[in-house]
């Protein structure tokens, strides 16, 4: 079931076209990623879905509502975590959550949310004294306190340490597993790979790829790279001639061979036949990271 649909969304700031005919859809109960380099239009897109901005053209529907016109009604059923917003420094964590709970007809239990997001010990701590990670978790808890059907998370792991990021990912999966649709804005590939069921890649205000993280990787081809340092002279043309090899690059003594299919088998067989001993052999499967850099032309 489609819960969010975006068709030909266009947004201009003055003469500058920020979104140029963006279309995608989000299904109920999935974690959908909006991926792209800074300035690609991710935040503007999500702000149009939240009713924080009015599109210049195109159709946006979230839970069947038009965010620009039925904003208040929509806000009762969605949760929003914004990039770069703060709370009052003297406001305590528990008070912030109680305050935002009072805005919703059927809020979540605040004590339970604090427990879940690791803030139970900070209930009486003032916002100004929280660490970056604690602030971030509080903002996610605020987005969830209204028991939303859709939650928008914009750069959710900003300020979290690696451990905190992984814990946050687990919690976001729990949120999805409880039936909430999650729209995640991120410029971090590992986050999208780890979390998203599907993602769209935005670049220069257009969707340049859409699908599961695996689809996105596959769409860009050349999934495997073998790199090594030959200890004896090596004829690179020999490797380039192999059937599944697409590209051979030699830089500073390191040879990098990339291609699809049995690249690894062919390369190692060739090296063995030539009696060439290699050092520092590494085999790397392409990740979304590589796919992303290729898709967006390397501005990441």
């Amino acid at each position: 079931m489609t819960i969010i649909s975006v068709e030909d969304l266009t947004k201009r700031y003055g003469d500058r076209t920020v979104l140029d005919g963006v279309s995608f859809s989000v299904r109920q109960g999935e974690i959908f990623g909006l991926l792209g380099p800074n300035g690609a239009g991710k935040t503007t897109t999500v702000e149009c879905l939240e009713g924080m901005r009015t599109p210049d053209a195109g159709t946006v529907r979230v839970l069947g509502l038009d965010p620009a016109r039925q904003t208040r009604r929509l806000r009762r059923s969605v949760g929003i975590q914004l990039q770069e917003s703060q709370l009052q420094d003297a406001l305590r964590v528990g008070e912030a959550l109680e305050l935002y709970a009072s805005f919703h007809p059927r809020p979540r239990d605040t004590g339970e949310l604090l427990e879940q997001w690791g803030l139970a010990g900070q209930r009486r701590t003032r916002f100004g004294r929280l660490s970056g990670g604690q602030k971030q978790r509080l903002f996610i808890a605020l987005a969830l306190v209204g028991d939303p059907e859709v939650v928008f998370l914009d750069e959710l792991t900003t300020g979290l340490d690696p451990q905190g990021r992984r814990e946050t990912w687990d919690l976001v999966r729990d949120v999805r597993d409880s039936g909430v649709t999650v729209v995640l804005v991120s410029h971090l590939m590992d986050e999208v790979t780890a979390l998203c069921d599907r993602a769209a890649v935005l670049d220069g205000g257009r969707i340049v790829a859409e699908g599961t993280p695996a689809d996105l990787v596959a769409a860009t081809g050349t999934p495997v790279t073998v790199s090594f340092r030959p200890t004896a002279p090596l004829d690179l043309d020999l490797l380039a001639a192999l059937p599944s090899v697409e590209r051979v690059v030699s830089t500073g003594g390191t040879v990098e061979v990339s291609g699809a299919g049995p690249v690894v088998d062919e390369v190692t067989a060739t090296l063995a036949r030539g009696g060439i001993v290699v050092a520092g052999l590494r085999i790397r499967e392409r990740t979304l990271d590589d796919a992303y850099v290729r898709i967006t032309g390397g501005d990441a």
């Binding site: 806000r75 917003s85 703060q86 009052q88 805005f103 007809p105 979540r108 239990d109 339970e112 039936g179």
Partner: protein, 288 residues
């Protein structure tokens, strides 16, 4: 739904009824909230926001001290000087502290408007507090309502302290025209808070908000007579003060205190400032 129900699923932290059958329970839960229920939520939200801002106000010791306690403290200090309790012809038969009581009432309103509303709102905008609020089901304008309510309550308490301490400690008569005082006080608050909202609407940053608020507070208090009571001012300055909300407010409060209905000109000055500043503030206010 009971508390036990809501905590029934610790694994996901979500309520048991939802996880049991999300497809049917979700829409049912939404449609069970008619318009009346939404109005109740809005009322509850505004009460909670006002309460929260009230607490935050009291957690800022400087703001709480200067608007709540400083006026009555100044009254006590002035009242401790024996000469200031004597009635003088220069002050139209009032004692110095009797002449100062209305100024101290206006002091609270002016400091709340210029050094309260302005820096608070500009900081809230700069830090994204207003933006975060506008992303909730509650309109960001609720913050203005909450802050004005809190500040009005603070000013009323401060007024009460000045009246009570003045009466009990120094024998200042109670205001003789209470209805006039009420009208003057409400217009004084609306005009000074209106100017505060307008300044908050147009200044670009919290830093500028602080500076402009301060820069306006001192002249406002000058024309209300904090340094030279209005009765002792050169007539040119007093006439300028008639067209400034703090000057008009002080005169109107003073008249009501001594048993006269406040002058139409003073009430008009405050009404015009309220309407013009309020209108412009509403037009120009930026939430982000």
């Amino acid at each position: 739904m009971t508390t036990a129900d809501r905590t029934a699923n610790p694994a996901t932290g979500r309520t048991a009824d939802r996880t049991a059958n999300p497809a049917t329970d979700r829409p049912a839960a939404r449609t069970a909230d008619p318009a009346a229920d939404r109005a109740a939520v809005t009322g509850r939200a505004l009460r909670r926001l006002t309460l929260t801002e009230g607490r935050l106000f009291l957690r800022d010791p400087a703001a709480a001290f200067f608007s709540l306690l400083f006026p009555v403290l100044l009254l006590v200090i002035l009242g401790s000087v024996p000469g200031f309790r004597k009635h003088t012809a220069a002050l139209h038969g009032l004692s110095t502290i009797e002449a100062y009581a209305p100024i101290l009432v206006v002091f609270s309103l002016a400091i709340l408007g210029m050094n309260g509303l302005v820096p608070t709102l500009t900081a809230y905008r700069e830090r994204g507090v207003l933006r975060r609020l506008s992303a909730s089901p509650v309109p960001a304008a609720s913050m203005l309502t909450a802050l004005v309510t809190v500040y009005l309550a603070v000013a009323v308490v401060s007024l009460g302290l000045v009246v009570a301490v003045g009466r009990l400690a120094f024998g200042i008569p109670l205001p003789r025209e209470p209805l006039g005082l009420l009208v003057s006080f409400v217009l004084a608050a609306s005009s000074l808070f209106g100017v505060g909202l307008l300044v908050a609407a147009v200044v670009p940053s919290a830093k500028a908000g602080n500076a402009v608020g301060m820069a306006l507070f001192f002249p406002l208090m000058f024309f209300s007579g904090l340094w030279v009571p209005r009765a002792l001012m050169p007539s040119v300055l007093r006439h300028i003060g008639d067209f400034i909300p703090s000057g008009a407010a002080t005169q109107a409060v003073a008249d009501s205190w001594t048993g006269h209905w406040p002058g139409g000109g003073d009430l008009a000055t405050m009404a015009v400032f309220t309407l013009v500043a309020g209108f412009l503030a509403a037009k120009l206010f930026r939430w982000r």
